[in-house]
Amino acid sequence: MAADGALIVYFVFALFPVVWMVILSLKPTNELFSTYFSFTPTLDAYRTVLGAGDDRGVPFPRFFVNSLIVSVGAVALSLVIGLPAAYAAARWRFRGSENLMFTLLSFRFAPELTVIIPLFVLYQKLGLFDTYVGMVWVLQLVTLPLIVWIMRSYFSDLSPELEQAALLDGYTRKQAFFRVVLPLVKPGIAAVSLLAFIFAWNNFVFPLILTSSNAQTVTVGALSFLGGDRPKYNLTAAAALISAVPPLLLALTIQRYLVRGLSFGAVKS
């Protein structure tokens, strides 16, 4: 009983901000500062944030679409590049493999600003500043290590005898990989892709410095509602909630696989 009580206290702390944002986002602008728990709910804030009628000129729907494009792009590219690398790292131990893997993991721990300033200079020169290509390229830093490390642990879990049997049946290596190995790790691939998508979606530093308006994402966009001398809390709350919806939905669908993903395969679930 006491245990349940303690748990409930923690979960109130964990859930209250979200509930409060919902309340705040439903408040009409003129009631923002007056009463607290009694008000007439309205969807005006959502209309303003999602529509064109924003007096601050923040094109939030565009930022939302931008986030979708660059996150999907980064995940797709990371899969194409990361799956073979993960497979190789799981099945062979070759010169430099551990160093390469550790280098990849070290991206996870490197302060983002270390590469971002040189990238900013390079992007200005190459015309990649504020472009989708530029954002996809840099979000690799987030998604590729995740995909390689976790998929390596999935591939290592499969018995090599599976491929052996396939080869004896007359499959080539390539066929064995595509027809035997890949289908078996499909759930893993799906889970890690969604998790990588969430990481890319939630990233803040890269879009903050490497985009200005064309390729800006929701994380930076939501912040721009806070500016000004009279911040509109309801708009900010609505923007914050909208930008949190995709990661939350995805997280609920891949919950089973989250542990391995979050810990980069260091803890298996």
């Binding site: 702390f13 979200v18 983002e112 270390t114």
Partner: protein, 320 residues
């Protein structure tokens, strides 16, 4: 559990296609080249990131800044200046305070939540499903949410605290309050991370030692100290390492919540680097800050990961 341990057996293909496969003989050079071919794209991409990193290192040897179109080669002058500046040491102090504070609270709270959930009452099973919610919200969005709640006069936190006489707290407007508030946001976002990992650990522990302890009539505290905690430690340690490393390089939470203020009270190293490089456009100086932070994080990671490897190996020897 393979953060450090290499997965595959020694220097030959762990799978056939190699020596033993009878079908379609592949020339030896192609066989030994195969893993490299598979990994080349990742290698190139790694290079694509290492290049700007190298470029950044190179910039730090100059006094490259917006105010100075023709940078001079200054060698290690940037680093010398950083290490002799009191503002650097102040930032380092704030960063360590933040990282240690956040990681410590998250560890204790996260492990506690995991232990409670592990007891699996019906309430626990329902709550467990929503445990990861805060973790999936972008930290910057979480900081925005908390910023709205912590507003001194109109925020809901003070409104709720009014009845207990704590109504007018200036959460983010005093140095100590700003640091505590940002740690609180970090705790809100990342406690579930520790809890989820610890819970996974708890679920994978062998049952028999606990049964034996129960038969011997061991109390809760004894069981926790002598059995649960030692066996759980490798899992918790993974979480602690991730949390400590991540909070050393905190940026988005502080950027959105306090912007480093009031004064310089929450200017952690990444924020300092951001201000120097982006706002004041002293590029070389800002990058030098980051390189220093990177070196520290790298060294600490190496030490911790090595320690983790030892712990995991020891854990692997314990018969289950």
């Amino acid at each position: 559990m393979a953060l450090t341990t290499p997965p595959a057996p020694p220097d030959r293909p762990a799978v056939p296609g190699g020596e033993t496969a009878p079908v379609r003989p592949v020339p030896g050079w192609r066989r030994s080249l195969r893993p490299y071919l598979l990994i080349v794209p990742a290698l190139l991409l790694t290079g694509g990131i290492l290049y700007p990193f190298g470029l950044g290192l190179y910039y730090t040897l100059f006094d490259f800044a917006a105010s100075k179109p023709r940078p001079d080669l200054v060698g290690v002058e940037n680093y010398r200046r950083i290490l002799s500046q009191s503002s650097f040491w102040e930032s380092a102090r704030v960063t360590v305070l933040y990282a240690v504070g956040a990681a410590a609270v998250e560890t204790v709270l996260g492990v506690s939540v995991a232990l409670l959930l592990h007891r699996a009452s019906r309430v626990g099973r329902v709550l467990e499903k929503i445990l990861i919610l805060p973790l999936m919200i972008a930290p910057v969005i979480a900081a925005i949410m908390w910023k709205l709640m912590l507003q001194p006069s109109v925020g809901v936190v003070n409104h709720l605290l009014e009845p207990v006489g704590l109504g007018g707290v200036q959460w983010t407007d005093t140095p100590a309050g700003a640091l505590l508030s940002s740690i609180a946001v970090d705790v809100w976002v990342y406690t579930p991370f520790v809890a989820v990992l610890a819970l996974a650990g708890l679920r994978s522990l062998p049952v028999s030692p606990f049964e034996a302890a129960a038969v011997d009539g061991a109390g809760w505290w004894f069981t926790f100290r002598r059995l649960t905690l030692p066996m759980l430690w490798p899992y918790v340690l993974v979480a602690v390492i991730f949390r400590f490393m991540d909070s050393l390089k905190v940026f988005d939470i502080i950027y959105a919540l306090t912007e480093g203020g009031p004064g310089d009270s929450t200017v952690v190293l990444q924020i300092r680097a951001y201000l120097e490089a982006i706002r004041f456009q002293r590029y070389s100086f800002g990058i030098s800050y980051m390189i220093v932070l990177w070196a520290v994080v790298y060294l600490v990671t190496m030490v911790l990961v090595r320690y983790l490897g030892r712990i995991q190996n020891r854990a692997a020897e314990v018969p289950k």
